[in-house]
């Protein structure tokens, strides 16, 4: 059983380490972060977001930021701007 316990411990630590490494690369090292940084305008960096496939005939929603907010102001996108 000792062997199996070590297998469990070492594999779990390895998985944890890789998840941390993935989180770091995801948040700081992705190439588009650099591109986004270069494309900074006076209003801040340009948003990167999913293109929604919109059927204009249905007058479907545009980007999230255009939805009216409760107090009548227009909100910002989920990641700010």
């Amino acid at each position: 059983m000792k062997k199996n316990k070590y297998l469990l411990l070492i594999s779990s630590l390895g998985v944890l380490a890789l998840l941390v490494a993935a989180a770091i690369s995801e948040n700081f090292l992705k190439e588009w972060h650099a591109i986004q940084g270069q494309a900074r305008t006076q209003e801040g960096p340009i948003d990167v977001k999913l293109r929604q496939i919109v059927n204009p005939d249905l007058r479907e929603s545009g980007p999230l930021r255009d939805l009216p907010r409760r107090n009548g102001t227009r909100g910002t996108g989920p990641f700010g701007s």
Partner: protein, 515 residues
């Protein structure tokens, strides 16, 4: 009044404080799994765990018994399940849009690429593991009575695994996917090689029917994609889950894993490692041991050399689960899943290749679509399924390479299996095959005589020799299974690394561009 109120309030407060421990007790009614009895109720009181038996034989816990391969396969399946559901949040099963959505997942969705990589790698790990697991079950002769039916279920699991992997291959709708499924469609249509030769295609076109059932239309398009999508995310996973449940349940009903006849003598040393085996009121056990004086074989080991599955088996399973997760994460971290250009029906991929585990068959398909895609795989598949019913001997059950001939026969079969397949392929590559020598030869002749069928016949001959030499069906099976394994490896390697545009031979993919 005040008193009663206070005590009700008090009770409420006490109850509130004890909520966590109450939930724990409601969940684990038998109490903490610390004695043999509570460990048993821990297992059979749990819907998932009760697929296991309450006690596990020491033999089955040895790493060499299973190499954990069945659990690796299960773990890889669970990983694809979790990551696959996450991918479904963004994937859209419609041509072109599908490609865009995979691109979004790959480049924009937070952690999308990582999840996609893990999904892709876990699928490959699963295919490798299921093949190795099957080989393990075969080489330890674990398919014998009473386990024939579980071999049968495993046989279904193998096909389901390959089908799941193949249907997933189409979903990105890139060039790789589109042309792989086109090959698949041509294989489905290949019975025409036979019906054409017989001149009955006009009346009885089973090839076209198969192709249409596969694609949902006469060409690869949106009908095919939605069909593959449904199979991939719904039908096949459900089939897989049900077959797995039966597979595991049967292990329990068949009396655990297969074991050698003299297993009890062999696991004596293991009992020390798993000490203490008896945990129920150890004080009494010691007293009993004192009364009987001395060490009988039963002292210090459970009934029939078993230990409680909780925790001994579950540590092993959890360990293997995390190990598999680690392997998939490492692979996903260092290597991205491929994504080629958007599928384009006008620009054939050259060479168009199926997923790697089908490339051995595609090598034969390059001679005859029917033999490579249907004839030989069917033969192998039916042969595999019949193994437990053809070999009913008892010698060597539960032992690696058990049975007449043993490891030595397997070694010779490996040499023969590799040598024959390499020789036949080398001949075909160097000198060409019937079509090059006699351009007008009917396809039916090539369907019957091609490297695939020649290798098959040579293997069958060797197997019959082994069967006679050792006067044992098991020896024949050992020889045949080993040969086919070697042939699979040789053809897969050739199809993967040495075939380039127009399926011509190249020593290295870097020479492709010279073409």
């Amino acid at each position: 009044m005040g008193e009663a109120n206070r005590s009700a309030l008090n009770e409420f407060w006490v109850n509130l404080k004890s909520v966590p421990s109450q939930i724990y007790r409601a969940m684990f009614r038998g109490g903490a799994p610390v004695s043999d009895r509570t460990r048993s109720s821990f297992v059979f009181g749990n819907v998932f765990l009760h697929l296991h038996s309450v006690r596990t034989h020491l033999w089955s816990l040895r790493w060499s018994a299973t190499m954990g391969l069945g659990i690796i396969t299960t773990a890889a399946f669970l990983i694809t399940l979790v990551t696959g559901v996450l991918l479904m949040f963004y994937y859209k099963p419609y041509p072109d849009v599908a490609y865009q959505s995979i691109k979004d997942i790959h480049f924009i969705v937070p952690t999308g690429r990582f999840m996609r990589n893990i999904h892709r790698w876990a699928a490959n790990v699963m295919v490798v593991a299921v093949l190795l697991h099957m080989a393990r079950a075969f080489y330890t002769a674990s398919y014998r009575k009473p386990r024939e039916f579980n071999w049968f279920i495993g046989w279904g699991l193998l096909v389901t695994t390959l089908a799941l992997s193949f249907t997933g291959y189409l979903l990105p709708w890139d060039q790789l996917a589109y042309w792989a499924i086109t090959i698949g469609a041509n294989i489905a249509q290949s019975p025409r090689e036979i019906t054409d030769a017989m001149g009955i295609t006009q009346f009885f076109d089973i090839g076209a029917l198969q192709r249409e059932v596969l694609l949902g239309s006469d060409k690869v398009g949106e009908e095919s994609l939605i069909r593959f999508y449904l199979l991939h995310v719904m039908i096949l996973p459900i089939v897989m889950a049900m077959l797995m449940a039966v597979h595991f349940w049967r292990i329990r009903k068949d009396g655990g894993l297969a074991k050698p006849v003299d297993v009890d003598a062999r696991v004596k040393a293991d009992a020390q490692e798993h000490y203490p085996v008896f945990t129920e009121e150890p004080k009494k056990t010691y007293q009993l041991a004192a009364v009987v004086k001395g060490r009988t074989p039963a002292v210090g080991s459970g009934p029939e050399n078993t230990v409680p599955s909780m925790p001994h088996l579950f540590y092993a399973e959890l360990g293997v689960l995390m190990f598999t997760t680690l392997i998939c994460l490492v692979l996903a971290f260092v290597s991205d899943a491929p994504l080629k250009e958007l599928a384009n029906p006008l620009v054939p991929e050259n060479p168009a290749k199926a997923p790697w585990y089908f490339l051995g068959l595609q090598e034969i398909v390059s001679f005859s679509a029917f033999m490579g895609g249907i004839g030989i795989p069917m033969l192998c598949w039916i042969g595999l399924g019949l193994i437990p019913f053809l070999d009913k001997e008892t010698e060597g059950t539960g032992e690696w390479f058990g049975g007449p001939g043993g490891a030595k026969l397997v070694g010779w079969s490996m040499i023969y299996g590799f040598a024959t397949s390499i020789a036949v392929e080398a001949f075909a590559i160097r000198f060409g095959w019937l079509r090059e020598w006699f351009p007008d030869i009917p396809q039916l002749v090539i369907t019957l005589v091609n490297p695939g069928t020649v290798i098959t016949v040579l293997y069958a001959g060797f197997s019959i020799w082994a069967l006679k030499r050792f006067n044992s069906t098991r020896a024949g099976a050992l020889a045949l299974f080993t040969c086919f394994l070697c042939g699979f490896i040789v053809l897969t390697v050739i199809g993967t690394y040495f075939r380039g545009p127009n399926w011509e031979f190249f020593w290295s993919p870097s020479d492709w561009s010279a073409h």
